[in-house]
């Protein structure tokens, strides 16, 4: 479980996060949603520690990230997996070597055990053995995301962060990736935080959602009640697509 308490973050006098507090439970898909520039990426990077929050607490199962020393943060990061927006696979390594990489850095496994574990993770994300020895540039965007997920789970992380996992993917592949992340979250009881502005993801996998607007946490809830909230900013975000507007219009006409 990750708890965020009263987190503030400013860049050169510009306050980007204003007193954010939220709890992200394990085994659930915790989604951070909001418009571009709302501060959701800054919030995620502050939770991970890529940005240092100005004030507040970020508790990983009770351990405050902001009180940790460099060595403790390094240790904590071995429990963290992250899926980046652009996958961030290492160009110079093959698909298999990308997944082996964290094992080679931080485990005491033999080479054979590492290969076995990496192959298991790649199969778990539905990749075939034919792609194992290809380089990241030789596989599609969807496959790259899967490799990135496999790499993120290689060390059995307790916490998984996904920064816009659907960016650049078609709706069908996006759905596959969303479901895969949800399956893995539930299977390994991981605390997963997903940063997204894709409403399809919200409706498919959002167990717990927080909505960030202009650096403030404007709403918290689940996908079941997101349509019935009286919050102008959230409504504007949720019903931004023409399709939703048409559906809503039709519903209003039907009433």
């Amino acid at each position: 479980m990750i708890e965020v308490k009263g987190v503030n973050k400013s860049f050169e006098g510009n306050q980007v996060l204003k007193n954010i507090s939220a709890t992200f439970e394990s085994g659930k898909m915790n989604l951070i949603i909001g418009q571009s520039g709302s501060g959701k990426t800054v919030l995620m990077k502050s939770i991970i520690g890529l940005h240092t929050a100005d004030t507040g607490k970020i508790l990983y199962d009770g351990r405050n990230l902001l009180d940790m020393r460099f060595k403790e943060i390094k240790e904590l990061r071995k429990e963290v997996g992250m899926l980046f927006q652009g996958s961030a696979l290492f160009d110079s390594l093959s698909v298999l070597e990308n997944v082996i990489y964290p094992l080679e850095m931080f485990s005491s496994m033999t080479r054979q055990e590492m290969v076995k574990r990496a192959e298991f993770c790649l199969v778990r994300v539905n990749l075939s053995a034919q792609s194992f020895h290809l380089s990241p540039s030789e596989i599609s965007g969807g496959m790259q995301k899967r490799v990135a997920i496999a790499r993120a789970i290689a060390l059995n992380p307790k916490y998984l962060f996904c920064d816009e996992p659907n960016s650049g993917l078609d709706p069908i592949t996006s759905l596959v990736i969303d479901k895969l992340i949800k399956e893995i979250t539930e299977e390994y009881n991981i605390t997963t935080i997903v940063n997204t502005h894709d409403m399809n993801s919200v409706m498919e996998v959002g167990d717990h959602i927080i909505f960030i607007n202009k650096g403030v946490m404007a709403w918290e809830g689940s996908r079941n009640d997101i349509f019935d909230v009286e919050n102008a900013a959230l409504n504007e975000f949720v019903f931004a697509s023409e399709l939703y507007q048409k559906v809503k219009k039709a519903e209003n006409l039907g009433k």
């Binding site: 990061r77 071995k78 961030a88």
Partner: protein
């Protein structure tokens, strides 16, 4: 303002170097990266070093001979001038300026691209000391092997000068051979090698610094690459004055 920027760069560079020169997270990974960097930065530079040295050695001999036609000068003077120029400045300083262009831009663009594609963030998230993992093998490989490039440059430069005697009639090979052996001071080779150890460190570390702190897109990686080459070259020239004064004065 300029001074503030300069101190900011010096501070960031020092902090980066303190991260670079720490114990690697995995020695196994370090020793795997090390030979790859040796090949990429040094072995792959061998061709350009040989080509430039041979041609410069040749043209330097021709120019020296044509511009020193005084009958009072001994016949071996051309070989002697070529040898000392190659040993003292060309093979160390000028060759390092050329390598700053080739190797420096390579390092800065590689690390810069890793930065903008979030590969460095991915390493940090995994708990890897990214500066140490990416930069230390480059510095170690380049500093350790750059003296070899300099010695190759000296040797091939002298061979280039020898070709003047073979392919033209302005100088005999016998005069040239006497010249390059006359009043030879072995300390010059030591001086050149010591200089290049410093220059190698400057090229690898300054280029890594600009790549590591690159941000934005492809254009910014290009800028980082240019800054790496320009600034390493300027620093090399400054250090050349200091080291020459210390070692030859």
């Amino acid at each position: 303002m300029l001074l503030v920027t300069l101190f900011k760069h010096i501070g960031s560079y020092t902090l980066l170097m303190s991260k670079v020169f720490s114990k690697p997270d995995s020695w196994r990974m370090f020793f795997r990266q090390f030979p790859k960097e040796m090949e990429k930065l040094v072995v792959n530079s061998l061709g350009i070093v040989i080509i430039i040295s041979v041609f410069i050695g040749f043209i330097m001999t021709v120019q020296t001979k044509l511009n020193t036609s005084d009958p009072l000068l001994p016949t071996y003077a051309t070989g002697l001038v070529t040898r000392d120029t190659l040993l003292l400045e060309f093979s160390s300083t000028i060759m390092c300026l050329i390598l700053a262009g080739k190797v420096g831009s390579n390092i800065a663009s590689e690390i810069g691209t890793m930065r903008i594609t979030e590969q460095i963030d991915a390493l940090e998230i995994m708990g890897v000391n990214s500066a140490n993992y990416l930069i230390l093998p480059k510095i170690a490989a380049f500093v350790l092997l750059i003296p070899c490039l300099v010695i190759v440059s000296m040797a091939t430069g002298l061979v280039g000068g020898y070709f003047v005697g073979i392919f033209t009639d302005i100088l005999t090979t016998a005069d040239y051979m006497v010249g390059i052996q006359y009043a030879f001071i072995p300390y010059y080779i030591f001086y050149s090698v010591v200089k290049t150890l410093f220059f190698g460190f400057i090229i690898a570390s300054v280029s890594s610094y600009y790549g590591y702190y690159a941000y934005g897109g492809a254009l910014d990686v290009g800028k980082a690459s240019t800054n790496a080459v320009v600034n390493s070259s300027v620093i090399i020239l400054l250090f050349n004055i200091v080291i020459t004064n210390l070692m030859l004065n």
